[in-house]
Symmetry: C2
Subunit: 293 residues, 2 copies
């Protein structure tokens, strides 16, 4: 008997499909039922071998499942929790893949109500600018971090089952409070998306956009890659983590304005110091991190 | 006889060494004399086969050369032009690799004086966060763009010799006015560097920098890669293109503030529209450009 006998996945996109494929590759899952809105996407998930059965009803995916992953955009999770609460088995554990945690937990408390102890919030810090089941890969989580943010109500055994499932996918699992998670992710993930959208958007609105882009190279490419991310997903994440993200945005704008002031004053020494400080940390980070360059 | 019989390179870093290596690989150059300040770097350039002879004197590299590349940081070019002017042969052509053009041309007019018709300004839009001769590669310019910004005084034959040399390196060559060059590069290259330095610098100054970076993934990595660039080189470029860069910075800050306002107001529709607009252009650009993802 595999560790997960029946897996329900609500939202079979890149994240959900990759979770199923990784567990299958590890021999860690039996039957997989996927719920989603787009029949074509569900059919591709089935063709890929990510799911055995497709449904439009989140409740049908959760019923009889011992493990449920909610991997829809954050904005759709409230309804999903409401739909699955009545059918959730006593021994089932539910986790999610949302990029913000405080907001998702609020939705889960409202939707799952008495079942909230069965919900162990999580966030696989992996992804790509691709989306949909067709982009799913069994190795998406290999070496990547998954942050689990347990609730006071969670029995340790359920937290352990969620951690174990991600380990089977090859991920490193860490634990944080939901508030810490949201503050850290605002700085290292949500703000970078906003930066990329702002830069690409500024160019997009110009009459000479085509001309400019014809001369853009690898630097501009790297800086705007995140602007290819899914607009609805990132709208939801930004709104769900609004307070922390606005705080980060202000800090970043101050940092940018400080460089602008040095430039305006022609302060060569100040610019060099600021650039050197940034470079030193960047090099120290990539030298000691698992992040490949 | 190769197209370039004797090449003088002043500033044998990544750019200068790669130019020499590329010309050698194409059989397009005879003898190469490299001038620079750092004896260790010059020795590495010689060991790599980029240069045949090393000197500390820019004039010694330019004397008897039929082709001179000035590839020092922009801030050092004024002195280089002054030093090489008295020894420059009548038939020699001089070009540079500076990332800004109006400022370099001003330095060239002041330093080369009557020899200014022999100076054809250029900018290879290539590079890396590595620097020094040891990072030199014969294929650095393959498929990359080199922008030549001729002066009214340049004889067409000299412009042709500079274009031909870059073609030998495998580059695509385009022509622009110096002012257009500086405006375009401010938008697609200089501003992205400022953005990366500002983001990395903001994180660097925080007490929890290590903690934050431990959870940073590929998005943050892509966005801050340019912050590993050479601080002195980028200080010079930013100052030399100060006016155009400050204009770009203001536009970008407005774009960022507009996203911040949508976020503050919780305007889901507005955020989604802004993100979609940026994504559409990003995808159209990468689909049709030579820039590999």
């Amino acid at each position: 008997v595999p560790p997960i006998e029946r897996l329900g996945i609500v939202g079979v996109g890149l994240i959900g499909a990759s979770f199923a494929l990784a567990l299958r590759a590890a021999g860690a899952v039996g039957r997989v039922v996927g719920a989603g809105r787009d029949p074509g996407n569900l059919e591709r998930a089935r063709a890929l071998g990510a799911i055995d059965e497709a449904t439009h009803d989140p409740a049908a995916a959760a019923r009889d499942a011992d493990f449920v992953l909610v991997a829809t955009p954050v904005g759709a999770m409230g309804e999903v929790f409401e739909r699955i609460a009545p059918v959730l088995g006593r021994d089932a554990v539910v986790t999610d893949a949302g990029s913000t945690k405080a907001g998702v937990i609020e939705l889960a408390r409202a939707g799952l109500r008495a079942r909230i102890p069965q919900f162990v919030p999580g966030h696989p810090v992996a992804g790509s600018d691709e989306s949909g089941a067709a982009a799913g890969r069994a190795d998406l989580y290999r070496g990547r971090e998954v942050i689990v943010t347990p609730l006071p109500e969670n029995p340790p055994a359920l937290v352990g089952r969620v951690r174990a499932a991600w380990h089977e996918c090859g991920a490193r699992v860490s634990e944080m409070t939901p508030a810490d998670h949201d503050a850290v992710l605002a700085a290292v993930s949500h703000l970078p998306h906003l930066i990329a959208y702002a830069l690409m958007g500024e160019v997009a609105r110009r009459a000479d956009a085509k001309d400019l882009l014809a001369h853009a190279g690898t630097g501009f490419r790297d800086l705007t890659r995140l602007a290819a991310s899914h607009p609805v997903m990132w709208r939801d994440i930004c709104l769900a983590n609004r307070v922390a993200l606005l705080a980060e945005l202000r800090r970043y704008q101050d940092s940018l304005s400080a460089l602008g002031a040095l430039l305006e004053q022609g302060d060569a020494g100040g610019l060099e110091r600021a650039f050197s400080e940034a470079r030193t940390l960047r090099r120290a980070w990539t030298a000691q991190s698992a992040v490949e360059e």
